[in-house]
């Protein structure tokens, strides 16, 4: 691999250019019209404009990206996260053009991107999935029988459903018998199909995911991250390792993730996502992300392994370097996503010109960003301004340094979520890690977490 095209923008494009430079690989940035002067385009060895400002006309146009690769003589493509990163057809097109795709094969992306196929892979690897009925149940008696196997509370869901309609959570068989007919009728009206299925309802769920690396023949894990603090299903704070699972669960979960990777012959970096029932510590496979993730730096800080560099080495055909025994974790890391959003106005995104900025730094603080003084935050892409990632010898030390780092962060000209994140760090439930996937929304509404 001599010349890498980075098919992305923002902080992850900057991150990839830097990893490539560390390995002596030259880089090509692609950019939209709005990003002509962006940091990623200036740091790369070459830059090619691939279209107008909206992502649908530039970063999401696979042909434009491939044309830029051909024009500049790139021999590999790193997709980053978002955009084309989990589009199997893009991975296939890159390979079809004779280039190296930095990620798993198109077949693996497709297989793990299909929820039903991914669950089958998990079952074949002996990895637990959320207990439930595989398909629709035939009437209320069959539902009651199935619910006894699944275990209460259960969630009744419309097989044809979506958008939260036709969903009921019931605690026992009486509740199920009372709710079933109504939910089925609602589903029939909404979707033209009253078929219902069941799933275990996890009341207090934690979102824990295992970082993996595979080279097609062997696979290792780099421990896990917890991403339970979410708003509208978007992660806000992530940490490595999870403060909410026991060592025994950690051992079983990481082993399950590695088994799943072996089952698919996984190549590159990936993440196996689990739902953890906080009450019982049971964990269930949800899905696998076949790309680098936003929160990967937390894993880098606790393991000392550069995940993007490992992705590039694996893509270049090297065998996996770190053996499982050589991967150790040390201390604790927390990542805060700072966004150009106004918490006072229901998190309304706020693009526009910025003036002076101060980015946190100092001992054990990493700030991954594309932001520069006097930059303009474009309205076309996501609102992520920076990731502030902080390491400590233990979780308490990491949180104490997080206070300092978040206080240092300032941007003139637009509102950001930095102040809100700073106040979150002081919450007692944050210090004790007594949270689940609904906690942040409760807190923002002013309820007790």
């Amino acid at each position: 691999m001599e010349k890498l095209l980075v098919a992305n923008r923002g902080e992850i494009a900057v991150r990839i250019v830097r990893a490539a430079r560390d390995l002596g690989i030259r880089t090509v940035a692609v950019h939209s019209k709005a990003d002509a002067g962006a940091l990623h385009t200036r740091l790369a060895d070459a830059a090619v404009e691939i279209g107008p400002s909206p992502a649908s006309k530039s970063y999401l146009v696979a042909d434009a990206v491939l044309a830029a690769a051909a024009e500049t003589g790139a021999d590999a493509v790193h997709p980053g996260y978002g955009f084309l990163s989990e589009r199997a057809s893009f991975a296939a097109a890159v390979a079809g053009a004779g280039l190296t795709f930095v990620g798993p094969s198109a077949a693996t992306i497709e297989r793990m991107g299909d929820k039903v196929a991914a669950r089958e892979v998990a079952r074949a690897a002996g990895v637990p999935t959320v207990p439930g009925t595989p398909g629709g149940v035939d009437g209320v008696d069959a539902a009651a029988a199935a619910a006894r196997d699944v275990g209460y509370p259960v969630m009744l869901k419309a097989a044809a459903g979506g958008g939260g309609r036709g969903i009921r959570v019931v605690d026992d068989e009486d509740g199920l018998r009372a709710a079933f007919g109504q939910a089925s009728t609602e589903a029939l009206k909404a979707f033209g199909d009253g078929t219902m299925y069941l799933e275990r309802y996890v009341e207090k769920a934690r979102h824990v995911e295992v970082q993996v690396l595979g080279d097609g023949s062997s696979a290792v894990h780099l421990f896990e991250r917890e991403c339970s603090l979410q708003r509208r299903r978007q992660k806000v704070v992530e940490e490595a390792v999870s403060p909410g699972i026991t060592d025994a669960v950690r051992d079983r979960m990481t082993a399950a993730a590695v088994a799943l990777c072996r089952e698919v012959g996984y190549t590159s970096a990936g993440t196996v996502e689990f739902l953890v029932d906080d009450a019982t510590q049971e964990f269930f496979f949800i899905e696998m992300n076949t790309r680098i993730q936003v929160e990967h730096p937390t894993t880098e800080l606790v393991t000392g392994i550069d995940l993007v560099a490992e992705q590039l080495r694996i893509a270049a055909g090297e065998t996996l370097r770190p053996g499982q025994d050589g991967i150790e974790r040390r201390g604790h890391a927390v990542e805060f996503r700072i966004c150009a959003e106004d918490p006072e106005r229901d998190f309304l995104p706020q693009p526009g010109p910025v003036g002076r900025i101060t980015l946190p730094s100092g001992p054990w603080v990493r700030c991954d960003t594309w932001l520069e003084p006097d930059a303009t935050v474009p309205p076309y892409y996501d609102s992520l301004l920076a990731k502030v990632v902080v390491w400590g010898g233990d979780r308490a030390e990491a949180l104490a340094r997080s206070r300092r780092a978040l206080e240092e962060f300032s941007v003139d000209g637009i509102p950001t979520t930095a102040g809100l994140l700073r106040s979150l760090v002081d919450e007692p439930w944050m210090a004790s890690a007594d949270f689940h996937t609904a906690t942040l929304e409760h807190w923002l509404r002013g309820d007790k977490a």
Partner: protein
């Protein structure tokens, strides 16, 4: 008759339809009320509906579907009454 300009409160990309498979919120000549939607603005991957803000007849769109708009930019004209 007075004219009312519908203004986008935020910068972004203007869409005349709720999704690519649906008809436009309104056409030239449509009767609208104050809370009738006339378009969507996508800003940083979130979508915000723009209401007419006055009752009357939508006589003209000032921007095209998928055009970029600035905060404060008029996007449509309504004749009140």
């Amino acid at each position: 008759m007075s004219r009312h300009e519908v203004v986008s409160p935020i910068p972004g990309v203007f869409y005349r339809r709720p999704d690519p498979d649906s008809p436009p919120f309104a056409e030239d000549g449509s009767a609208v009320s104050g809370d009738s939607p006339v378009g969507l603005v996508e800003v940083m991957k979130s979508f915000h509906q723009i209401a007419a803000g006055a009752s009357g007849t939508l006589v003209e769109f000032l921007v095209g579907d998928e055009d970029e708009v600035d905060a404060g930019q008029p996007v449509a004209v309504i004749e009140i009454g």
